[in-house]
């Protein structure tokens, strides 16, 4: 007699049970191989999804900052761990508590996951950073004028042998999957509190990895928004 699977068998109950076990084992092995093959793409997909999520979140913050500037004629100060998600201070000022802090999500009205300090979190649950230039003695957080030339720059590497943008007003970035636990000079450059930042392609090479997600505010885009909104009158 032949089974529907095409295997021949006898009617002996014991032999029949043994055969089914082998059959099941084969199925389980195939299933295991298939699932094993899927696990890697799934984890890659999950990580890729987090990276896309970080980009979207940073785009939202970028747009919210431009909207804030169009409404108020200035940018907000960065939030600090103690400012409860608000710009520190939460008013027009030439003296921010710090020029390198976190996204003032409450001041900008951005919804998203926050930590106990009300700081907006990236998909890896680290607070998203925001730095604003202090050029013109804090003019960008007080009253923006056309004559200002911002002094942040964005480079392709920490040594800045390749420049992406020479005059940048502010940057928003996620420290990526590894947060601040990195030895990569290009990633350390973004959190060292100076006026140079790095944006380059994603890399997992140990020691030179780069998984930060960074976006900057160009003075040209900001000027357009301000004049269109009548904020430079």
């Amino acid at each position: 007699m032949t089974s529907p699977m095409g295997f021949s068998f006898t009617a002996h109950p014991g032999r029949s049970a043994g055969f089914n076990l082998i059959e099941m084992a084969i199925v389980l092995v195939i299933l295991g191989v298939l699932l094993g093959g899927l696990i890697t793409p799934f984890s890659t997909q999950l990580e890729a999804s987090k990276r896309r999520g970080a980009d979207t979140l940073i785009d939202d913050v970028h747009d919210a900052l431009l909207g804030f500037a169009a409404t108020n004629g200035r940018l907000p100060c960065p939030a600090t761990a103690a400012s409860n998600g608000l710009s520190a201070p939460n008013t027009a000022t030439t003296a921010c508590t710090t020029n390198h802090g976190f996204v003032p999500a409450r001041t900008l009205g951005i919804n998203g996951s926050v930590n106990t300090n009300n700081l907006l979190l990236d998909p890896w649950l680290n607070p998203i950073r925001y730095s604003v230039t202090n050029v013109g003695t804090g003019a960008y957080t007080n009253n923006i004028t056309l004559a200002l030339v911002p002094d942040f720059r964005v480079c392709q590497q920490s040594a800045c042998t390749g420049v992406l943008a020479d005059n940048v007003v502010a940057v928003v970035f996620s420290t990526g999957e590894d947060g601040t636990t990195t030895t990569s000079p290009d990633q350390l450059e973004n959190t060292d509190g100076d006026t140079t930042f790095v944006d380059r392609t994603f890399s997992e090479a140990t020691g030179t990895e780069f998984n930060d997600h960074l976006r900057w505010i160009s003075p040209t885009t900001l000027t357009y928004q301000l004049v269109r909104a009548g904020q430079l009158d």
Partner: protein, 366 residues
Amino acid sequence: MKPVPLDAKPPHFSSGAAILIFITLILLAATSLLVVELSVNQRLQLRTNDKASSLGEAQQALLGYALAQAIPGTLPCPDSTGDGLANPNGANCQSQLGLLPTRTLNLPELDDGSGAKLWYAVDLNYVGNATALKNSSVTTTLRLDARTVSAVVIAPGPAVDNQSRQLLVRTDFLEGLNADADLAEYESTSSASQNDRIVGIDVGRYWALMERRVLIDATQLLNAYRAACNEYPWAANFGGPYTSVNSQQNGAPPLNTALPDNWGAACAGGTAPTPATYLVNHWIDQLYYGMCTAAQGNCLTVLGSSVSPVAGILLAPGIALASQTRPDSDPGDYFEAENDSLPTTQFRQRTLNNHTSSYNDITNGF
């Protein structure tokens, strides 16, 4: 063959479970394929969105760049070498069509979603060292679908036909009129063999925005003059010379010589300011000015504005409408509606969204 016992469990029940698992696997595989296919479509859609958002960002940055220049209305030359920097060449550009100069604009390296950099063409009267005056009466020759534009930004899209994508070779990225030798004529036509996406900066919108900056600067100048000298300067004759005429309250702003005190003079309240060089060189014959004396207070009415009455007003003309010929000493060749019947104490303001083919003045009451 042995006979099958009557109480033996039919073996096909167990084999059926295996078949069910195989069917499940096949269904899983089919579902995965479907999801992957949907993801591909989603990615294609995202690429289209990327293109649109890159083009919009480029357009805004170009307008912002032009607004912030020492001579407002100046656009950068295209990048002809691929380093992100504009490449001027004397009073001209190395090429009228090239890559968008992202580094000059302080933008990220924008691409069109398929990995190709954005292209950019500019009207040569608008670039840095061009001899043409930078004002709304300048001649514009750049065309997009027969519409005059100050610049165009093009997203090339994926390669079509035999494009080999050699950097800076326009025919390897662009198609149709966008790729031909006429660098002043562009089109937005779309087909299977022509997939450029293009935006143009409409010349009317461009100058309307620049004129807002010009009026801000001119207003600050006049207010600073009054703060120092107690009165606004008397107006000059529209059409020139641009020197104050005693007791004249309507006409052109007196950018050459001001009365009762000249620019830069020591007044009772401080030193009178001096006009920005670009105002004198590029806008002296383009603006209209009305003023009240301190004794008259706010003597000017601005219809359509929430800021009215006012003590002073400046008008910028927008680009020449079909019925207007410039240069001319007749304000009617520059201004429209109530603003056309000058001199007057009544003016008309309309927001940019309410500009029409018969009204495009920019006004600023103060």
